[in-house]
């Protein structure tokens, strides 16, 4: 799934960061195995669109059924609590993407049937940024976004 279709890449780039792109049913399917290999391409991606592509999607759609719980202001960017809950039926996976981080994708979770589409972790943020929650459901990708401001850290003591 790391091999990328040239044509599709072009389409995505012209689509813009948050435009709704005709959501073709994704060709790349997340590994079914729970012990999947680390998806280097996804973790190297610089934008939310590239993350979605590397995860095997071909477009993203905004959704009001995804809730991001994170502070409006984080005192320290080293530790920013982020929880994502999806009410989209058949949610298969959740990814947390920090737009302005050098590596945008922070974490990706496969949600098997029976597990609630509601996960929480903590991420580093180099600066104030949009945080995106990317949800895969029924082979389609959906996104919700929340801005988190980070006060300057780095002043030890």
């Amino acid at each position: 799934m790391q091999t990328m279709n040239r044509g599709r890449r072009q389409t995505l780039q012209s689509g813009g960061a948050f435009a709704i792109i005709a959501a073709a049913v994704s060709a790349g399917i997340l590994p079914a195995s729970a012990f999947a290999d680390w998806n280097k391409a996804a973790f190297d991606a610089k934008t939310v669109n590239d993350v979605v592509k590397a995860l095997g999607g071909s477009g993203i759609e905004k959704s009001a059924d995804i809730t991001i719980t994170a502070p409006d202001i984080a005192e320290n960017g080293a530790v920013v609590p982020v929880a994502v809950a999806s009410k989209i039926a058949g949610t298969q996976s959740i990814a947390i993407v920090v737009e302005k981080n050098p590596y945008a994708l922070a974490a990706q979770f496969d949600i098997p049937a029976g597990t609630e589409a509601n996960i929480g972790t903590r991420v580093k943020m180099g600066q104030s940024s949009n945080v995106h929650a990317v949800v895969k459901a029924g082979g389609k990708y959906f996104v919700a976004t929340k801005e988190v401001k980070v006060t300057l850290g780095g002043c030890g003591g």
Binding site: W38, V79, A83, F109, D110, I111, G114, T115, K124
Partner: protein, 104 residues
């Protein structure tokens, strides 16, 4: 050797088991320089799996921008007091750690 995880697994109303995990890991980004100006190589957890009664209840992939000493919270339907939840992580240097918790 990696330090143990702290795992809490609690049965909540509605037959949902809530799992809260703390992992001891440096989660080095690979972007930081040490005192001598040398880049500290990336060292971070990559994969996490959680099972209950041998059944996968979560699989996660982490990149270097998950915070040091990562936190992971999730819940699944089912679970009974006394049953085990087992968590395993592996990192990019091949280190690995497995711990379990009893649902309470």
């Amino acid at each position: 050797m990696a330090d143990p995880m702290r795992i809490r697994a609690q049965l909540k109303d509605g037959g949902v088991t809530e799992v809260r995990v703390l992992m001891a890991h440096v989660m080095e980004t690979g972007q930081r320089k040490d005192g001598a100006g040398n880049t500290v190589p990336a060292h971070h957890i990559q994969g996490i799996t959680a099972t209950w009664n041998g059944k996968p209840v979560l699989a996660a992939q982490f990149g270097p921008s998950v915070s040091q000493n990562p936190v992971l919270n999730f819940s699944f339907k089912g679970g009974a007091k006394g049953e085990k939840v087992i968590i395993t992580w592996t990192d990019n240097k091949g280190d690995k750690r497995t711990d379990e918790a009893t649902i309470s």
